[in-house]
Symmetry: C2
Subunit: 407 residues, 2 copies
């Protein structure tokens, strides 16, 4: 579990500081020894925040708090701990969140609904917030500094094998703005020791309703378009905060086009890194579905393919087993025309008109299957809806990681 | 792949012949060597038939034919081959079905819509029906004999490691009737070399509309309540035929209560055997969900737990990881009250009121996890809906079987 994923990028990216955002990390001793496990992000007064939270009906106490706090639309602080998810912890869990929020609001002199919290790690165990998080907050506030993204990304890791970060710049009305994000996630997403968390920061000034709109769209096309094992965490959280420190002119939707693209690119980059750190992953898989009744239907078909254990094990075995893709399309529950189905792997067309193409030569497809990045394209022949999703393969490594007794 | 599942029953059950049903098998050389791969079932004139077919939108040509033929409500013949699924084979596949149906109708002197066909095995490869199935039909007709259930069950196997059969008797209006069934299935269900097929026969006289009603209900509580890997075959088929040879009085619903129970028991027994032959399975898992808004919601929550790779790998690792059950309940998309959730494993209550029970002792649960049959009970605290589903664990064996290149 401690060796770095073969799909990991070479190094943590060079990332710029974002004006109005300071971070600090500390070892709070929640579960891990010898590493930081607590992150504080401070935002300048007036920063707008948008977000997306798990749809799980057994959401954690921190997620429930974030859902409430998002109504304010403003953020001054984000507190994230790893090692304990504070999920399924009943009233004790709610109290742990309340203590953390009150302490952070007090330390930074802000309102409680401007404080966001996330917890990731083991579920069902009480989080001793007072003796860990609350006690460390003063030291964290003292240590706040801009740009320590890699330390921040490392502090929120659980079963992750590498820290995840991405950044971009964009122009808004002639003013350059910066976007920087960090994320963690490995299984998609074990409540046990994994969960998807992502925090993206920008110095752009973006009105909160617009920020939420752009965030929702970017999340749909990135974090909601990836899957490792079809499991959904009780703690999944994406927050996007805009400090306004760049001093760009008040933007409308048209002015934000470039910013929206850059925000989506950062989210997609982070999402891809989560897949590349998928438990046991040896292949990164891109699946594009076209010809569906809608983009939503295309995404659902794509996820049915991406979540199929039979498709995933075939990819692990470097087997160009397109029959399993036919099966997954059939079970997705979205309209598809069997007799118009086209499947291509690695750019080579395999099926057309409900059967394998004449004189199909598997050799080039078999060669593609031996590569690390696999590209699958499916056209279901009933409309113009299109979507791309990303996943990894299912290997012995996944069984090793998740089938061993909790240590 | 050839070693018998550790969860297999000791031997094929002693099963009675059913009056009005004769079977024959032969080696047709479709794919396998040295074993029978073609089954013919002959039913007496007037036998009623009911069924359930895959909901896959990429259903095979034989399934499409069965859907049409079921409208007649009568069956004289069932022809089943293993080794080739005749799925995703376009017009050639439809023609192969037509040739088979015509030849069987001719050989037995019946109407074409009284002939049912199933094919299971590799998909996407043309089935040379003329030179295999059609050519062997005369020999099969000559060989027809009652009661050769084990040979019949063996002829339809693909990746199955043991033949599957079950039988029961029931009383209808003072007359004893017999029920006997065979099934195959291993992955749930690879289109590649696995698919779920089940054929159940009775000598009872049951009007076709009632037979369909009882069949649908039994299938919901048996074949549709099992999962190995969440994948749905292009070929899944269940047929229930009633010959009427027992001469019981014309029954109504009340008179059929015992018969309905016996039919459900046979279907459940066969369904359990499919799970016990699940690819790579080392544990048989029963999951009962209560307190849901409806039986349907309970089944959906149960299947979310049963299909979760994280739950399945935990069971393989003999880890009493109830947090993953909480996660799966949360993602099922059915109403559940996190703060009323009760989870018990092996009869030991673990959670109550949204958190782990006070002084939870994991020792007895850990002991239960080491057994071969695992029992999980979940109450989601919002209603009275209840359902039971069955699955197996997810092991290295599954990856070995499905991640190796097609040989």
């Amino acid at each position: 579990m401690s060796t770095v994923s073969p799909l990991a990028p070479g190094a943590f990216p060079d990332m710029l500081a974002v004006d109005g955002v300071r971070v600090a990390t500390v070892e709070a001793g929640i579960r891990y020894k010898g590493r930081d496990d607590l992150l504080l992000v401070e935002l300048v007064p007036g920063a707008a925040v948008a977000g997306a939270l798990t749809r799980s009906l057994t959401a954690s106490a921190p997620v429930e708090w974030c859902r409430t706090a998002l109504a304010s639309g403003r953020a001054r602080a984000i507190v994230v701990n790893s090692g304990n998810a504070n999920a399924f912890t009943g009233r004790v869990g709610t109290a742990a969140v309340a203590h953390t929020v009150a302490a952070a609001a007090n330390a930074l002199g802000c309102a409680e609904d401007e404080v966001f919290v996330s917890s990731t790690g083991v579920i069902g165990e009480p989080l001793p917030a007072e003796s860990t998080i609350v006690e460390k907050l003063p030291r964290l506030v003292e240590a706040l500094a801009p740009g320590a993204w890699e330390a921040a990304a490392r502090a929120i890791m659980t079963t992750d094998t590498f820290p995840k970060g991405a950044s971009a710049t964009a122009m808004i009305g002639g003013q350059r703005v910066r976007i920087a994000g960090i994320a963690k996630g490995s299984g998609m997403i074990a409540p046990d020791m994994a969960t998807m968390l992502a925090y993206v920061f920008t110095d752009a000034a973006v009105p909160q309703p617009l920020l939420q709109k752009l965030t929702s769209r970017a999340v749909e096309r990135s974090f909601n378009a990836i899957t490792v094992d079809s499991d959904t965490s009780t703690s999944d959280t994406v927050l996007v905060a805009a400090t306004g420190a760049a001093g760009n002119p008040e933007p409308d939707v048209a002015l934000l086009r470039g910013f929206a693209r850059a925000l989506e690119a950062v989210c997609r980059d982070l999402a891809h890194q989560i897949v590349r750190d998928g438990e046991g992953a040896s292949k990164f898989v891109e699946i594009t579905v076209s010809g569906a009744t809608s983009a939503r239907a295309a995404r659902r078909i794509g996820l049915a393919i991406a979540n199929s254990p039979l498709v995933k094990t075939a990819i692990a075995g470097e087997d160009a087993n397109w029959g399993r893709i036919v099966m997954a399309v059939g079970k997705a529950g979205e309209k598809a025309d069997r007799d118009a189905l086209r499947i291509a792997i690695g750019g080579v067309e395999i099926t057309r008109g409900g059967q394998v193409v004449p004189d199909y030569d598997e050799a080039p497809v078999a060669r593609h299957m031996q590569e690390q990045d696999i590209v699958i394209a499916v056209d279901v022949g009933v409309g113009r809806g299109k979507a791309t999703v990303w996943t990894c393969d299912l290997t012995h490594g996944y069984i090793d990681i998740n089938g061993s007794y909790r240590s």
